[in-house]
Each structure stands twice: as structure tokens, then as C-alpha cells.
């Protein structure tokens, strides 16, 4: 297969870059390792500072990509290697087995209904359960189920229920070679692990949750249908956010600022205050970095809503016998005294680390910055990586929010289009 550009990663950066390139008449192959496109954004409840419902604004982008005549999509597919061949690139990609025949499946969910095994739902960040064979989430694209072979009993109930005989227990990975003119790396981020900071409960306290779990609790179609704390389903009357729980912390190897945590915490605090009108909501912070357009005003609105902002670095998190979360702080604004405050639910505002390191395992030798995100060439051309013909956008080059990601993705698409034209012109000469 031959294409103008390979886009690696179908989060919002990859979706936008693919659309902009395809709209400029370029043929795009978009590869995503998850079973659905949409990235982290489709998983969020609402986005700051507009408070738009994330599903509502991400699904149209996903649908446009899926229907664009110039875009070919490969989901549940890994990129094994990208190597330059002359002025172009050869890439090897491997599609993982879903154990469902894509050509036969009609997305009717009968297999899901019949399956008897429940597994933790990754889409709900393990707060809820799903069947061992299931479509990843309601608005997933494509609407194809994935069978979790590690959990499957091979009982055959799904195969019996399937009206088109699409279940294939023997499905094997499919490796494909593609030839492309340019590559855009939009592989995004993952959060720092919950157990990274031992002083913060080591990831085992049930009512200390990740920001993604908070997003799912707040989503209207979330796992509990409301905000409850995981240990006992109690509706929390006191919620706290711990800022810089995975950033600006050299002890974690993450000395940099992750740029989005202040804003997502403020947003989550606002949404919590909407869901839990009588709850006390506190944000423990070092600096509030509300630097984007309209963000400072958003922060001031949160303060006006009664959300309490306490400048304090959290020293330690533990729990009491009822799984209440004890937060040890030093209040800088009130006599500098150490204090222990108990909350029903605590959200750790985790930072961002790269989700994919292309140079690891020799996939493609792109240079990294000291922060381990991809290095870019100049402040005048933010999408150029260390390798000619390979471009990057979004959180692959460092933490950033959705709007900055979208701008970069459009910029990268433009750079790639120009690069491809110059290659053509060069070839013509």
C-alpha cells in the first residue's frame, strides 16, 4: 500500500492533522493502537474553558475522519518500524487480533449480550465493568468488538449468538508494509502512574483516584451515573485535588510543568460543585497556571463559585479506618503550620509523560529532548523533528492542552503538504 502520509496516533492531534492533510488532497494512512480512534479526548467529561461536552465535540471529528475519502484508517494496529527509503519511508504495521472478522461484523452487540465474563472497563478506567467481548464504548469508531482472549473461557456463547459468524477464535496478527512520503507522529501522552509517589498512598488507597477516573465519575454516561467514592459508594461531602502530583517534581523524573493539570482540576472542581452542591471542594496547589485564552477568567469563576484554593504542597496522603483520605499539608497562607485534613475523595492531578518513545526498540530513531518528549527543530517550525520527512504535533512534543494541540496539528499538516510538494517538484526536476 502507498500513501502520501502516515499519521501515527488517532487522538485529537492525529485526527486534526489527518483531516487537514486530506482536505488538502493528500492521501493519509491513520494508524491507532487502540481499538477506537478518539484518543484521550473522547474519554473526558467536559473540556475547559468552554465546558463543552467532550463526546459531543470529538465524535464529529472522529466521524469526519472515518468518512473522508482521502483517509484510510487502521485501528488496533501497532507501528513496528519506520525506515527511510530514498526520499520516502517504508513502514511495517501490525494489526492485533480482535478475534472478530471486520468484514462480517455488523456491530449488533449480540456477542456482548451473551458473554458471561465481566472484565474491568478500560474506558471507565476500571471504575466499571464490561464484557470480555465488547465494543470499547458507545461512540467508538469503528463499531467493532474486541475479545479479551486472556479472560475468555472459550465457551462459544458469543460465536453462537453472532448472526454473521464473525467470531474467529483463531484470528492472527496481520502485518502489512506500507510506503509513505512523510510521517506525522501524534502519539500523545499518558499520565504519570498513580503509584509513582509513595508518599501519596502508592496507588492503593481506594478513594484516591486519577484525574481520568474523576472525568468518568463526572461524565453523564459515567460508570456510577453520578459522583460516588469508589470504596463504598458514599456521595462525597468533601473533595480535594492535589496539584503537581506528577509534575514539577524532580524526585519523579518529571521536573517540568504538565501545563494542563491546573485547568483540568479547576474544571473538575467546578463540575463536582455542580454535581455535589453541598460538598466542600479544595484545590491544593503550588502556582495556579491558568495561562491560556479565557483560563484566568475560568479560574476566577471557580473561586467565585466557592471552590477553595489553598497554596500548599501536599506532603503525605494516607487513610483512616473508614477509607477517609487524610492529606498532610503545610498551609503557606495561614501561619505556615502543618495540618492534616480529611476528605472523602481525593483526585491526584497527575502529569504527562510521552505515550510512545519512537527511538525505543529502534522503531524510528527520532531525537528526544531531556524531558523525553520529541525534540523539535526550531521555534519557527514547531512541527519539524530531528529527521527529515518526519513531523510531530500535540503532546508527542511535550505537554499541552487540546487547543494548542489542534493548532499544532494543523500546522504540521501544512508543513507536510509543503514538504510533499517540494519532494514532487524535486522529482520533476
Amino acid at each position: 500500500m502507498t500513501c502520501d502520509a502516515l499519521v501515527v496516533g488517532a487522538g485529537i492531534a492525529g485526527l486534526q492533522a489527518s483531516l487537514d492533510l486530506a482536505d488538502q488532497g493528500k492521501r493519509v494512512l491513520l494508524v491507532e493502537r487502540q481499538p477506537s480512534i478518539g484518543g484521550h479526548m473522547i474519554n473526558l467529561s467536559k473540556v475547559f474553558p468552554t465546558l463543552d461536552c467532550a463526546s459531543c465535540i470529538t465524535t464529529p471529528r472522529m466521524a469526519s475522519v472515518a468518512h473522508h475519502p482521502n483517509i484510510e484508517m487502521r485501528t488496533y494496529t501497532e507501528v513496528d518500524r519506520i525506515e527511510p527509503v530514498g526520499d520516502r519511508f517504508r513502514a511495517r504495521i501490525t494489526q492485533k487480533p480482535r478475534f472478530v472478522d471486520e468484514g462480517l461484523c455488523i456491530g449488533c452487540k449480540r456477542c456482548e449480550e451473551e458473554c458471561v465474563i465481566y472484565v474491568p472497563d478500560e474506558y471507565d478506567h476500571a471504575l466499571g465493568c464490561k464484557k470480555a467481548i465488547s465494543i470499547p464504548f458507545t461512540n467508538a469508531i469503528p463499531q467493532l468488538p474486541v475479545l479479551d482472549m486472556d479472560m475468555c473461557l472459550l465457551c462459544g456463547a458469543c460465536a453462537k449468538a453472532c448472526p454473521t459468524d464473525a467470531i474467529d477464535f483463531r484470528q492472527q496478527p496481520i502485518t502489512e508494509e506500507v510506503e509513505v512520503g512523510a510521517v506525522i507522529v501524534t502519539t500523545g501522552y499518558e499520565t504519570t502512574p498513580m503509584d509513582a509517589k509513595k508518599q501519596y498512598g502508592g496507588g492503593v488507597l481506594p478513594n484516591v483516584i486519577s484525574p481520568f477516573q474523576a472525568e468518568r465519575l463526572l461524565a453523564p454516561h459515567g460508570p456510577y451515573g453520578g459522583v460516588m467514592r469508589p470504596s463504598d459508594g458514599k456521595i462525597p461531602s468533601s473533595v480535594a485535588f492535589v496539584q503537581c502530583a506528577g509534575s514539577r517534581d524532580a524526585s519523579l523524573g518529571v521536573p517540568y510543568c504538565s501545563r494542563v493539570c491546573c485547568m483540568y482540576a479547576i474544571k473538575q472542581a467546578m463540575l463536582m460543585s455542580g454535581s455535589l452542591p453541598v460538598a466542600d471542594i479544595t484545590i491544593y496547589y503550588m502556582d495556579i497556571r491558568a495561562f491560556g485564552k479565557g483560563y484566568e477568567q475560568f479560574y476566577q469563576n471557580a473561586k467565585a463559585m466557592g471552590i477553595e484554593f489553598v497554596k500548599a504542597k501536599v506532603a503525605k496522603i494516607s487513610e483512616d479506618e473508614e477509607h477517609g483520605v487524610k492529606v498532610r499539608i503545610e498551609r503557606q497562607d495561614d501561619g505556615c503550620r502543618p495540618e492534616e485534613v480529611t476528605h472523602d475523595l481525593v483526585v491526584l492531578s497527575l502529569g504527562m509523560v510521552p505515550a510512545w518513545v519512537p527511538s525505543r526498540d529502534g522503531i524510528v530513531p527520532l531525537e528526544e529532548e531531556t524531558d523525553r518528549f520529541l525534540k523539535t527543530r526550531s521555534i519557527l517550525t514547531p512541527s519539524l523533528t530531528s529527521m527529515r520527512g518526519v513531523f510531530a504535533a500535540g503532546t508527542a512534543t511535550g505537554p499541552k492542552d487540546i487547543v494548542d494541540t489542534i493548532v499544532e496539528a494543523s500546522a504540521a499538516a501544512l508543513e507536510v503538504a509543503n514538504y510533499l510538494e517540494s519532494q514532487l517538484a524535486g522529482a520533476a526536476r
Partner: protein
């Protein structure tokens, strides 16, 4: 007998955004009773692929020829569903979007029953409207293959180059006599430490070598006429024998940049002949660029103690800070100033290590790659930090700076200073002629306002007009360059097809009803959108609509005494039927 309209009604749960408040099954069931409704369904996310597929299947197999989706605001998904109709082979305008989220579930949370009744009324009105809908065709206008970039700072230069390399002729205009904008004020840029002059040279050299770019310096943009695909930009050269010219362009990129916040007289001691000297950060930067010898001297005095006050002209609070002439304070964060301040302080201390620096700040917002490093370097060089808030603004008087410091739990601190540097923020550059002539949207912060702050960050609501750089809001060089390339990409997408499609919802005149009274002409606010023509066959004059210039506001429709004018897709008959449906009893 011809069959009547066959309407499909689809009610969206929007996860739970709608269905937690509105009984969506009941809405669907009530609509099923309408004689024109052939199919009715509800679904978790209509905008998702399977949701759209429901509609497509029904058009293909159930003979549906009109569609109503009751979901969120049309601003979000009208296009989504129109394209679904198109994929199914139906005219995309035989579609009506009913908003039962923003207009119902989000605003009537406490009352499920009346919310459901309202949703039923609105959806019925949608059915009445779509039943009377004609198939429409998008308006097609030619696209002039040229981009006009207004402003030749780093964003304008980058945008011009990006568009030109994309094969588009570009006219790049600036009022100054040279390119570079505010970048000319800087010595080196953060975080890379590159020489600003080198960056400008690089871009200037590339522009000179690009024969698709026409550069107009010393030129003022007086105004813009026309519409997407066919703008006319009036440019007046500055100076003696100033000539005027018109530039035809299919798309515009506005890169009019920012201006530095100018402190009020007396603001933190600014502009008063007192000790200490008070300068703004840009003034201090240009002072540092000069050769200051072995000692830092300002105003003829040696400087040993420098205090920087952050957030001057940014993050202001009404009632605390003095407003601008428009009555508003600058309540926004200027994004770049924290890092810019540390960048300057590090350079200052590298040259004059004996100087003691104090930073008086609210929050340190060194967010970007390499920014926190500058903060850390400053700390390691012995800079002392004091944190203030609006209840205890710093006071500069008699060689001292007094501030209530929240890093030492609210202690009143007095710092001896020879020099105070005000870390000033950004205000938008002058785009008033563009805003005036094109009705460009500006936000409460006075910067140009993009279509969607999340999803469409470099486009304005005015079709064919893009924004690049700090005309939109504070950003640094890297961010301005990314925005500029994105804007050029949007221009390229727009102009690449040779013609542009516009919505068909414009006024249309039934010639046989028009009696040439010209009342409509008096109401129309849009230049050349409506004109009177003589009929070749004789008789009264005829009102004629220029579909590309008409915005479909309906002012002409309202004053026409003969009902000769209608808006395509929003006819008076449709409104009559909708009103009847809205006031009819629910069950």
C-alpha cells in the same frame, strides 16, 4: 395521489445529557402520532457513527425523505447530520436540527415533566418546518487564488511563507517600514537563546527568495470589502504622494499582533520623577541591550537592588485596578510575561552578578518547555520571591517597595530598591479598521475572537478570515508560528478547490410579487447584498439579491408588504406552521 413528506425523527440521549432530564422515549412516542412522521427512534449518541448509520439505513430502506434530529445545538452537529443525509443520497438541507439540550435539558434540570413537554413541542415544530422544506443547493462562489496577510511580525511572515510554499500568491502588508514586528525589540528569544535578529533575517531572506510573495511595507489597510473567495483590501501607502491600491484576495490572514500594556501615570510609581526609577520590562530590555559597562546604571545612578512586579496590566480585578478607556480592566493572563521576566533576570545576573533581584509575583506561570528551567536558574542565582494578591498590591515609594508577602504568611515586607521593573502584559494591536469594516468579532478581552476556542482556534466567524499570532491573544514566538502555519493551512484548504460553497439560507425574491417599493433596500445593512434592477420586460423595478453578500438576516423579509421576499430554508410559511405547532397542546 402524491405521497406527503416522510419524516424520520431521531431523539438523542446525549449520553445522559438529555435523557437524564427529558423522557426521550416519550418524545419519540408522541412524535410517532404526527401524520408526516414515518420513523421515530431514540439513541444514546446520534452524532456517533452508529447513530448516523440509523438515519442512513432509514433513508435507504424506509423511504424517509426528510429528517429531524432532536439533540444539541445546531452549532455542533448540523453539518454532521447534513453530511449523513448526503451520504444516503438525500438533499442535505431536508434536515432540521431541534435543540433539546441547551434549550431544554440543561436549563430545566429540576422539572422532568415540563422539560419533556417542551422537547415535544420543539420537535413537533421541527417536523412542521422540515415538511415544508425545499431541497436547496449550496451557493458556489469563485475563489481568488491569493492570500492577503495583514501584519508582518513573526506570525505574519510565517503565515505568508507557509501559504506561498503551498503554491498560493500572497500579499504581505505591514504599516512599519520593515518586517519583524515586536521581535525587533528583542535581543535573544527564550527558551532557545536564539538571536532575534537571526530569526528575522532567516524569515526575511526566505520571503525575499519567494517570488509568490508581494511585500507591501509602509502601508495601511484602510478597509476590506467583499466576501469569502473575493475580498477587496484597500491599501494606502504612507508618506508623500501616498497612492492607494486594491488587492483582490480569496482569503485573509489577520496578524495584527499586540501592543505592550502602558501603565497609568503613577501605577506602581510609573512615569513619576521619583526614586526608585520605574521602567516597563520592554523598556528595561532595550536598556540592557545597550552597552551598560561594568555596572548597571539607570537614570545616572548605579543599580544594586531591582524589583520586578509581575502581572502589571494582566490578571486585573475590577474595582482594584484602574480600567482602560472602554471601562474594562485586563482580567486575562498575558501568558508570556513570567517566562520573559525570568529570561531577562537571568541575563541581567549573568552580566551583573552583584545585583540583588526581587520578584514580586502572584503565580509563577512558566509553563512551557524550558520555561521552568529559567525559573529555577533565577532561584539558584539568588533571586528572592514575594507573593502578593489584589488585597495587598505592592506600593513603590521613597526608594522602597512595600508588599504583603504570602510566602511568609502575610507579613508586610519592605524592600530597598533602586529600580522597579513592571512586567507588563499584552493588549491587542490596532485592528480597528478591520474590525470596523468587516465586523470582525472581538472578545471581552478585546482580542479577536476565534470561531470555537477549542476546536477552531485559527478561524474567525467571518468566512474566509483567519487569525495568526497575538491578534488572537497572548502567545510566544513558537506558539505564534504554529498558529500562523495553521492559519495558512486553513487558507490553502479553502482556496485549493477553485470555488467555495456557502450556505443557501439567503433572501430570495418572487419576481411576480415584487412591486419595486424599495422598502427592503432601506432595511438592508449589507453593502450590495440587495439592489434594484430594471426589468427588461418593463414594469416596476425588481429587488435582486447577491447571494454571496446576503447573510440571511431577514430584515428585508419583515418589511416587504407583498410577502415577495422569503429566506430560503426559513420561509414565512414554515414559521407560521412552527408557531402553530409550538402553541398546540401537548397530549
Amino acid at each position: 395521489m402524491s405521497r406527503g413528506p416522510q419524516v424520520g425523527v431521531y431523539v438523542c440521549h446525549c449520553g445522559g445529557n438529555i435523557s437524564d432530564v427529558v423522557d426521550v422515549e416519550k418524545v419519540a412516542a408522541e412524535l410517532a402520532k404526527h401524520p408526516d412522521v414515518k420513523v421515530e427512534k431514540s439513541y444514546a449518541f446520534m452524532c456517533s457513527d452508529p447513530g448516523q448509520q440509523l438515519i442512513i439505513e432509514d433513508i435507504r430502506s424506509e423511504g424517509i425523505d426528510r429528517v429531524v434530529v432532536a439533540a444539541c445545538s445546531p452549532a455542533l452537529h448540523e453539518q454532521t447530520f447534513r453530511s449523513a443525509l448526503q451520504r444516503a443520497g438525500l438533499n442535505p438541507y431536508l434536515y432540521e436540527n431541534v435543540n433539546i439540550r441547551e434549550q431544554v435539558s440543561w436549563v430545566h434540570k429540576g422539572n422532568h415533566e415540563s422539560a419533556t413537554a417542551k422537547a415535544i413541542r420543539l420537535t413537533r415544530a421541527g417536523v412542521e418546518k422540515v415538511s415544508r422544506q425545499d431541497p436547496l443547493e449550496a451557493i458556489r462562489v469563485n475563489a481568488e487564488p491569493r492570500v492577503c496577510v495583514i501584519g508582518a511580525g513573526v506570525a505574519g511572515m510565517r503565515a505568508a511563507l507557509a501559504a506561498a510554499k503551498r503554491g498560493l500568491p500572497v500579499t504581505l502588508i505591514d504599516k512599519a517600514d520593515r518586517v519583524g514586528g515586536h521581535l525587533l525589540e528583542l535581543d535573544v528569544v527564550y527558551p532557545t537563546g536564539e538571536k532575534a535578529a537571526d530569526l528575522i533575517d532567516e524569515l526575511e531572506h526566505e520571503i525575499a527568495g519567494e517570488d509568490r510573495i508581494e511585500l507591501l511595507l509602509d502601508a495601511d489597510v484602510e478597509g476590506v470589502d467583499g466576501y469569502v473567495g473575493s475580498f477587496t483590501v484597500q491599501v494606502a501607502a504612507r508618506g508623500e504622494g501616498a497612492d492607494r491600491r486594491e488587492i483582490k484576495a480569496g482569503a485573509l490572514i489577520v496578524a495584527t499582533g499586540f501592543s505592550h500594556y502602558e501603565p497609568h501615570a503613577g501605577e506602581f510609581g510609573y512615569g513619576q520623577d521619583v526614586v526608585p526609577e520605574v521602567l516597563t520590562l520592554p523598556q528595561f530590555n532595550s536598556l540592557l541591550r545597550g552597552d551598560a559597562g561594568d555596572y548597571l546604571r539607570v537614570g545616572g545612578r548605579d543599580v544594586r537592588n531591582v524589583a520586578l512586579i509581575h502581572c502589571v496590566g494582566s490578571r486585573q480585578t475590577p474595582g482594584v485596578h484602574e480600567p482602560q478607556p472602554d471601562g474594562k480592566v485586563n482580567d486575562y493572563c498575558s501568558r508570556v510575561c513570567c517566562t520573559a521576566a525570568f529570561h531577562t533576570v537571568n541575563r541581567l545576573l549573568d552580566r551583573f552578578p552583584a545585583v540583588q533581584v526581587y520578584e514580586v509575583y502572584k503565580d509563577v506561570r512558566t509553563y512551557g518547555r524550558g520555561h521552568d528551567e529559567l525559573y529555577e536558574q533565577a532561584s539558584k542565582k539568588g533571586v528572592l520571591f514575594f507573593r502578593y494578591d489584589d488585597e495587598g498590591l505592592p506600593v513603590v515609594v521613597d526608594g522602597k517597595l512595600r508588599v504583603r508577602d504570602w510566602l511568609t504568611w502575610g507579613e508586610e515586607v519592605e524592600i530597598p530598591v533602586d529600580l522597579v521593573v513592571l512586567v507588563t502584559g499584552m493588549m491587542p494591536g490596532d485592528a480597528s479598521k478591520l474590525i470596523g469594516s468587516m465586523k470582525l468579532p472581538a472578545g471581552a478581552d478585546r482580542f479577536l475572537q476565534e470561531v470555537h476556542p477549542k476546536l477552531r482556534p485559527v478561524e474567525l466567524a467571518n468566512n474566509g478570515v483567519m487569525i495568526a499570532g497575538t491578534a488572537q491573544g497572548p502567545m510566544d514566538v513558537l506558539e505564534s508560528c504554529a498558529a500562523a502555519e495553521a492559519a495558512a493551512g486553513k487558507a490553502a484548504i479553502l482556496l485549493s478547490r477553485g470555488s467555495i460553497e456557502l450556505d443557501p439560507f439567503v433572501a430570495r425574491v418572487r419576481a411576480e410579487e415584487c412591486d419595486g417599493c424599495e422598502k427592503c433596500l432601506g432595511e438592508c445593512e449589507y453593502k450590495d447584498a440587495l439592489t434594484m434592477r430594471t426589468r427588461p420586460e418593463g414594469g416596476p423595478k425588481l429587488a435582486v439579491v447577491n447571494a454571496a453578500l446576503c447573510v440571511g438576516c431577514g430584515a428585508c423579509v419583515a418589511v416587504c408588504p407583498t410577502r415577495a421576499i422569503d429566506l430560503a430554508g426559513w420561509s414565512l410559511d414554515q414559521f407560521d406552521a412552527m408557531v402553530d405547532a409550538l402553541v398546540a397542546e401537548v397530549v
